[in-house]
Symmetry: C2
């Protein structure tokens, strides 16, 4: 397999720099735009063509990727680095830092599908990564670049999942990591991870965007490698679940991918993966990609329904902490993907998120609240006729249910939603909530008492 080089191209003005160039803030010096990593097989590179015989061969790639599954080498056992032929970003692959990320399950969700009238629905569960979120797939790539380029310090600003992933991979590589988080509204389960993996955590008395601003200043003054979502190498790892989905579906392209929308790098990364596969002839058509946001953190949704298509940051507020981002750095990339592949942007309420999470959980597949926006949004797309019953849809679940266990506890105790939120729930949804909510029962240790309680519960369940 041929080793290719890569370049960075500004997504705004198109300026290209060498992949080996060090740009500490990963923004174009001319226009402040974000970079994309490009290869000879990337679209619009001018110098290449999909039929070029120097490009990787589709059949050879499929065979190689499958063969690597039987290898005991750490890089081959990684569900990210197994596809390394399509992201030649390291000088030396010995510098790759892996925790055996990827290889995540694609679960069918028959009951969720039936509930909304689809024939088939599946969830690609990226929460089954080592630190419990999809961020691992991107972090293994970008942290490896940091190690490859000789950095000793890495840092990010994060609401939680990114910091956990960065801290774990930095520890694995023997690098020091610094996490900047806004003081206050954080999921402690996520913060616990970055401490566990040995990161230095700095809580700044500001919001998420303020953390990003400080960090951006720091990396220009001190050799710290920036691992925020603006780092384009993270997207190179995050595009690999697109490859895995195709493998798992025996290369039958699904019709529709539904992704939660927070900082918006994930949807664009997956879209990049599909586009590159299409360019190389690995697939003959592309899925639509739709992005779902929480009502309280919906800047892309507002852009989508705005006839002038203007992006305005919002003050973010949602219990789905992983997507509580009001000023998403990668919005332009995500917007490009929606425009290019088709698909929609939808917003969902806190009540809708809670119900969707419980429905996914009842399939034996837990997820964090931010992941559940996918199913909540899909319900709306189906109701609006934008997704037809025969379409094959894959939801991207981004985090493990253990990432925010307090949310689950609060939900089942009936303490999650406010009275005002509850009042907005339809009768049909309220019946679903009642059937799905499972608050613990406290009983005396006596088998007669327990049996009696079970009998009444059975009757209850049958009628619910």
């Amino acid at each position: 397999m041929k080793v290719a080089t890569h370049h960075l191209r500004c997504t705004e003005c198109g300026a290209v720099i060498a992949g080996s160039a060090v740009n500490s803030i990963f923004r174009c010096p001319d226009c402040n735009g974000l970079y994309d990593v490009i290869y000879p097989w990337s679209p619009n590179t001018g110098s290449s063509d999909a039929n070029n015989s120097n490009l990787p061969n589709a059949s050879a790639l499929r065979w190689l990727w499958q063969e690597r599954r039987t290898s005991t080498l750490p890089l081959d056992q990684s569900g990210v680095w197994r596809f390394r032929d399509l992201f030649p970003i390291l000088e030396n692959f010995d510098n790759a830092v892996t925790l055996r990320e990827g290889n995540t399950p694609l679960y069918d969700l028959p009951r969720c599908a039936k509930a909304i009238g689809l024939n088939w629905l599946a969830a690609k569960h990226q929460g089954m990564n080592p630190t419990g979120s999809f961020k691992d797939t991107g972090m293994t790539a970008a942290l490896s670049v940091a190690a490859d380029r000789g950095f000793e310090w890495v840092a990010c600003a994060s609401t939680g999942n990114t910091s956990a992933a960065m801290a774990a991979y930095a520890a694995r590589a023997g690098l020091r990591s610094i996490v900047f988080i806004p003081e206050g509204k954080i999921a402690w389960g996520k913060l616990s991870q970055s401490m566990d993996y040995g990161a230095l955590t700095i809580q700044l008395k500001t919001d998420f965007d303020g953390c990003v601003r400080i960090l951006t200043e720091l990396v220009t003054r001190f050799p710290i490698y920036l691992l925020n979502s603006v780092n384009p190498y993270r997207l190179e790892g995050q595009k690999t679940p697109a490859f895995e989905i195709l493998e798992q579906l025996d290369w039958q392209v699904p019709d529709h991918i539904v992704v939660p929308g927070g900082n918006l790098a994930n949807s664009s990364a997956l879209g990049k993966g599909f586009i590159e596969m299409h360019r190389l002839g690995l697939i003959s058509k592309m899925p639509k990609i739709s992005i779902i946001q929480a009502e309280g953190a919906n800047p892309l949704y507002r852009w989508f329904i705005d006839s002038n298509r203007i992006m305005r940051p919002v003050t973010a507020d949602t219990r789905a902490t992983a997507i509580r981002i009001g000023n998403p750095a990668s919005w332009r990339k995500a917007a490009n993907i929606i425009d290019r592949l088709g698909g929609w942007c939808e917003q969902v309420s806190e009540q809708e998120i809670a119900l969707a999470k419980a429905q996914i959980g009842a399939e034996g597949v837990g997820c964090e609240p931010a992941s559940a926006v996918t199913f909540a949004g899909l319900k709306k797309l189906v109701a609006l006729g934008k997704v037809a019953p025969e379409e094959r849809v894959v939801l991207i679940l981004t985090g493990h249910t253990l990432k925010d266990s307090q949310y689950t506890i609060d939900y089942h105790r009936g303490e999650l939603l406010t009275e005002a939120e509850n009042a907005q729930i339809s009768a049909a949804d309220q019946a679903l909530h009642t059937a799905l909510r499972k608050p613990p029962i406290v009983l005396e240790p006596d088998s007669d008492i327990v049996l009696h309680a079970l009998e009444s519960h059975m009757k209850l369940s049958v009628t619910a």
Copy 2:
């Protein structure tokens, strides 16, 4: 590959019953002993011989197991069912219930190894299973038996991890599940999962052993399938990590496996896996298996150092909730494994567990407190000369760090250990604690202030 049948044999009196027999409490009616699942290749079955040509062929098995890694069938993608040839426990494999469990990483721990003078040390991370603990490997097997035999209800008594696993697999299979837990000292993160997966949770006003007693009464009065650790089919799934470890080490048998000791089914399951592999010629020698308990929940340790070898239940108390079991149901099976394979039993203090967990975390590999007893115990075995520097040791990490994030938060805030516990820490260990503890710093959002804090932190880290 030949399909074999299985039987259940009492581990106390040796009485054998058919595998298809329904015994609701999984205890021998004659002597109350637990059952082992036995096959034609099991030791001491009388009717079989390891060289018997009717038995599975070692080379064919190795080849088949490797080939299945490239398959997209759910059963083949499972790191448990991929080895189904060695646990033919279902009438119909279509009834197998899988969440793509197993296929867990084997991480090398170079810094932990160096800290205690070993050349090589690895951790098999069973916390990387779908619900975050090793229980998934056993639950996929036993829950599948429940589905195969037509049960509609399943139940267990559990301190947490078992209930999470049971609830997830039951939901996957469309069965109803009931979790019995002792009221009070529970890890809420674990309880949140069983609620999320739709289980009915019943908190009984008694301890763990009291829960088991009530449940045992219930299953004789109502068609509920018992999924506690006495269910011998769980061990059939839990033996498969032994196969995975050998695959991952290219069939080079490690010298020593170190396992946390709670209900003690896991150590015996792994031992059974190694013994069966040895009988079938898949390996030519067997590892030692050592079991580590928390000082506050150490009945096996007391048995081990008792010259009369008498097992006496204890009142369990440790922050490592997953192994807080004073009267372990499977103690005899575990004792048999220690006697048969060699190895030791050790106990470790709360301070030693906390330090070991932080050291494992600093390798980028988080785990729940119960998992960390393995490294804490290994330190003692090395110090006592029972493990030599050149021996190849594999620690079994049983749960994900997210299973008990409060423990991690308390540790890094310096709020975990009591003054009395802190006073018992040696100066050398205290220095390690100081270097590993990473309490969050709160700073004003100003890059000068942050840079100043980082500079002092760097100096601090260099001298620590």
